[in-house]
């Protein structure tokens, strides 16, 4: 996670991209291509908006911002997302 040590924890607006909240994650969603049906539900559900679609239509998470909430894995109809504990 990168953050500027501004006086009194101050910051310019629009720094959501600078603060890589992925460091908050305990469980990491792992996307299983052989099970994925490309239904796009995870892309729509992700509260962080950090799941993208690659050229073949498979979902790809951005781990810089994924907080590991697990909503995608919980809702995936094909059970194609596994939450795996991340050691740091």
């Amino acid at each position: 996670m990168t953050m500027t040590l501004g006086l009194g924890c101050s910051s310019r607006p629009g720094t959501s991209r600078v603060n890589r909240t992925g460091s908050w994650r305990t469980f990491r969603p792992v996307f299983l291509r052989d099970k994925c049906t490309k239904c796009r539900l995870c892309i729509q559900l992700c509260p962080e908006g950090c799941i993208m679609e690659e050229s073949e239509g498979f979902p790809v998470p951005d781990y810089d911002y994924c907080k590991g909430c697990g909503l995608c894995a919980e809702e995936c109809p094909a059970e194609a997302i596994e939450m795996q504990k991340e050691e740091k």
Binding site: M1, M3, L5, G6, L7, G8, C9, S10, S11, R12, P13, S23, W24
Partner: protein, 385 residues
């Protein structure tokens, strides 16, 4: 010019000359006279400031916080329960690094309800990140406001400051005070120039959410600024002395300590009585001295160690009690003198306005020399069974 003034009014006039742009406060005994006088000055146009009337002390300091964040020099004053109600905002003001200056007219905390003096209120905000100055008399109470603004607003400090004066004993007492002129104050205290401020044309956010990855670093920065403020206070106090003849370059004052066997350590107005008692004891051949703490935060540990290295016993007068432990000052004195082997005895004294006379100081010294201490001084017989 020397004037006979009530302590509160002397402070109000000093604050006026510091040119605060925003004042927000809530009346509470024994602080009321200060903000009453300032409100009158604003109403009479002798002070060009925004005076915000609020419904509580929480709002008072919140208004000050906002105004300071917007780049203004701000002022407030409170005491006791009022300060307790500001507890949360005190931590926020310091964490946001806003150099608010606030007078604390020291008063006991309830329950039981007491409007009289001790120093429990400001001492209880010890860890909030505010500088804490304690005045012995009204001259010092006024001078410390000029110094407090200069130090708090210094770019290497940027922390808020309490200027503490004992309720009634100083705030309601008329005594001669040498007031500076506006020109003198202006030459000592430059206008506040914030390093950052809330401005819709150039937006910033302050006091953001901080994860465990970063919170500690901000507390470290505050601690570093507080420690660095010692040198800034010395400089500001030395400069004050050069310009106006009253030197505040030390965080402590030594009184007849040179060859002292027993040293008293105290803060605030009680030190006047202590000095008189010392003069009489010295007349009787007793080698007693005083180390007066003017700056409780930052704590002058090094000065203390140096000043007390030659004494054989230390008696700390604490107008507060950290219940279940000791007085807050004694704990810090012990820390400063750790390893010296000098016995440091604590006397909880003058809580809730209990009067202290010279004979009490002499009695404390007698006890300290006999190794008897760590007690509440002068308790009524009925609680002792």
């Amino acid at each position: 010019m020397m004037e006979i003034m009530e302590g509160s009014h002397a402070v109000a006039h000093a604050v006026r000359m510091c040119r605060p742009e925003v004042i927000a406060a809530y009346p509470i005994t024994p602080q009321t006279h200060i903000v009453e006088a300032l409100a009158e000055m604003v109403a009479n146009c002798s002070l060009d400031a925004e005076y915000i009337t609020v419904e509580s002390e929480f709002s008072a300091l919140s208004a000050c916080l906002g105004a300071s964040a917007a780049g203004s020099r701000v002022y407030s004053a409170t005491t006791s329960q009022g300060l307790a109600l500001m507890f949360e905002v005190c931590f926020n003001t310091a964490g946001l690094r806003l150099p608010v200056v606030m007078s604390i007219v020291n008063r006991a905390l309830g329950a039981p309800l007491s409007i009289w003096n001790d120093q429990q209120d400001s001492i209880s905000l010890r860890d909030s990140g505010w500088l804490q100055f304690y005045a012995e008399d009204n001259q010092e109470a006024t001078d410390l406001h000029y110094i407090a603004y200069r130090v708090a607003e210094d770019k290497s400090v940027l922390l808020p400051a309490f200027v503490c004066l004992d309720g009634f004993i100083l705030s309601h007492t008329y005594e001669p005070v040498e007031m500076l002129t506006q020109e003198q104050v202006d030459s000592y205290l430059p206008p506040y120039s914030p390093v950052q401020r809330l401005d819709s044309k150039n937006p910033i956010s302050i006091g953001l959410f901080t994860s465990p990855d970063y919170y500690m670093e901000f507390r470290y920065e505050m601690d570093r600024a507080m420690k660095a403020s010692s040198q800034v206070i010395r400089e500001a106090g030395r400069r004050f002395g050069e310009m106006f003849g009253r030197d505040y370059s030390n965080l402590v004052e030594e009184y007849r300590l040179d060859d002292a066997e027993c040293a008293i350590v105290a803060m605030g107005s009680i030190c006047g009585t202590v000095k008189d008692a010392i003069d009489e004891m010295r007349g009787d051949g007793q080698k007693v001295g005083l180390l007066r703490i003017r700056t409780f935060r930052p704590f002058p540990g090094e000065e203390m160690k140096k000043a007390l290295s030659g004494v054989s016993s230390v008696a700390v007068l604490d107008k507060n009690i950290s219940l279940g432990a000791k007085g807050a000052v004694a704990l810090e004195v012990r820390d400063a003198l750790y390893g010296s082997g000098i016995p440091i005895l604590d006397y909880i004294i003058a809580l809730g306005g209990r009067d202290v006379a010279k004979k009490d100081i002499k009695s404390v010294v007698k006890m300290a020399m006999a190794g008897k201490g760590d007690l509440f001084y002068g308790l009524r017989g009925e609680v002792l069974g």
